[in-house]
């Protein structure tokens, strides 16, 4: 998704772009997520700024791209089970509001107006109308198509080497079908961005953080918004390698309800975990008791590209002139893709950046050149 957005905005800026993917469009993390476009889970700071800018760009993209990308400005609802949780949620929302987020506190008695099937007895919640959703695989594919003739797509082609010139500057890439010369290379390899950086001789500590999604049978509009429990925010920000689960529940236009989100650092192990799925299902049923009798028909897993400070790497890499990074967005890559793409495009075209990108500097982890 991030790569597609970089290609789209660069092409709109008049640049010629070749998109190389060793797999298929949306074959990596993009195809393994839920298509969350969230501001609700983000602390005030650089990631929230990126998310707010992206929210605006997604709205514009939804006008341009076909309705099949299933963009839904459905809003998010974060709920707390007790008064203590609600107090923390209110405080968090107040800080977000000061940073430009629209958030409305919803007392427990009014939650049912927003979500008729939500469990009774919850203390309350916060409604975030800016939260939205897309079908990420379709969104990535249609974004590439909408980019037009300036973008050529080469799928199933892996970059094996970054070509450099006499002064260490990037000159292009090598793939099994030959050399491709270009003055700039954008690393949008997601969870595998660290490996691509290594090919360029620089260190970028992207690590995989596994997540499962549980998919139910098609249902009527049981869940109207993105609904999740307040613990989710803490899980996202956590540095723990151990398993964390906090149910994020949402319906889809096609009918199935998607239930995320688990986080654990187990490398690239894809094997299904009954324990994780059991916990997700249990938490989802606590939010929406009607789900108890519904069938889960399948599950899928993916790897979020995680950087140690939970911020993506976006922009030029001073250690390797001509190399730019656009990866490490963890679980927010779909949401943050348009703003990332615009930053990359403006950087390449010497344009004006939409926001301060210094917190996303790719060399902020030190390490310098990786030999």
């Amino acid at each position: 998704m991030v790569g597609a957005a970089c290609a789209y905005y660069a092409a709109r800026r008049g640049l010629q772009v070749t998109v190389l993917d060793r797999g298929s469009v949306a074959g990596g993390t993009t195809g393994a997520g839920e298509g969350n476009l969230l501001v609700s889970d983000k602390e005030p700071g650089p990631e929230l700024e990126l998310a707010l800018h992206s929210t605006q760009l997604w709205r514009e993209l939804a006008e341009v791209l076909p309705s099949r990308i299933e963009y839904e400005a459905k809003g998010g609802l974060v709920v707390a089970s007790d008064e203590k949780g609600l107090a923390a949620l209110r405080e968090f929302a107040a800080r977000q509001t000061a940073a430009g987020v629209t958030a409305e506190v919803v007392p427990g008695g009014r939650l049912g107006d927003l979500e008729p099937h939500l469990a009774p007895g919850l203390a309350g919640g916060v409604h975030y109308p800016q939260d939205a959703q897309v079908q990420p695989a379709l969104a990535a594919a249609h974004l590439l198509r909408a980019a037009g003739d300036r973008v050529s797509l080469r799928l199933g082609e892996e970059v094996t080497e970054i070509l450099t010139g006499a002064h260490g500057e990037v000159r292009g890439v090598r793939t099994p079908s030959g050399d491709l010369h270009a003055p700039y290379v954008v690393n949008a390899a997601g969870t595998w961005g660290g490996e691509l950086a290594r090919l360029a001789g620089v260190d970028l500590p992207v690590l995989p953080r596994r997540g499962f999604v549980l998919v139910t049978e098609p249902l009527p509009r049981l869940v109207r918004r993105k609904v999740y429990a307040a613990d989710y925010v803490a899980d996202v920000a956590s540095d723990s390698a151990a398993l964390q689960t906090s149910a994020v529940v949402e319906g889809t236009p096609a009918g199935p309800v998607l239930i995320g989100a688990s986080r654990e650092r187990v490398g690239y192990d894809r094997s299904p975990s009954v324990e994780v799925l059991r916990r997700l299902a249990g938490q989802a049923v606590r939010l929406f008791p009607a789900l108890a009798t519904m069938r889960a028909v399948r599950t899928y897993a993916g790897f979020r590209p995680y950087l140690p400070d939970h911020l993506p790497a976006i922009g030029p890499d001073p250690r390797r002139p001509g190399l730019l990074h656009a990866c490490g967005h963890e679980g927010a890559g779909i949401g943050l893709a348009p703003a990332t793409g615009r930053i990359i495009a403006e950087t390449l075209a010497d344009g004006e950046l939409p926001l301060d990108i210094s917190p996303f500097r790719p060399d902020r982890f030190g390490g310098g050149e990786a030999g």
Binding site: P116, H117, E217, P218, L219, P220, R221, L222, G255, A290, M294, R295, V297
Partner: protein
């Protein structure tokens, strides 16, 4: 009828006594061991669900539990894969309309 359209003759099977299930209230003869989809097919019934959006008819397609096309409401429970559910005496299969969860409200 149940025997005519099953491979029982072909393999020289000697099945136990037949029993009855119903489809939309109409009695149908079943052989022990048949899936509900096999029973319905044997009775010449090819569709037992309508799609969620277009209301088009659906029945068994893959027959091995993968495609989820053969969903039916069985004894009041929607979204059962008829190709996987063994027929039992007295089972009531009813045509499933859309998602089969009309009790949950809109759509």
């Amino acid at each position: 009828m149940a025997r005519d359209r099953s491979p029982a003759e072909l393999v020289g099977a000697v099945p136990d006594a037949t029993f009855e299930i119903t489809f939309d209230g109409r009695p149908i003869v079943a052989l022990p061991g048949q899936s509900l989809a096999a029973v319905l097919w044997a009775a010449g019934i090819l569709a037992w669900r309508t799609t969620r959006v277009g209301g088009r008819p659906r029945g068994a397609f893959c027959g091995i539990g993968h495609c989820f096309d053969c969903l039916a409401t069985v004894n009041g429970e929607p979204n059962r894969r008829a190709c996987l559910v063994p027929a039992r005496p007295g089972d009531a299969v009813t045509t499933q309309e859309g998602h089969g969860h009309a009790e949950l409200g809109d759509r």
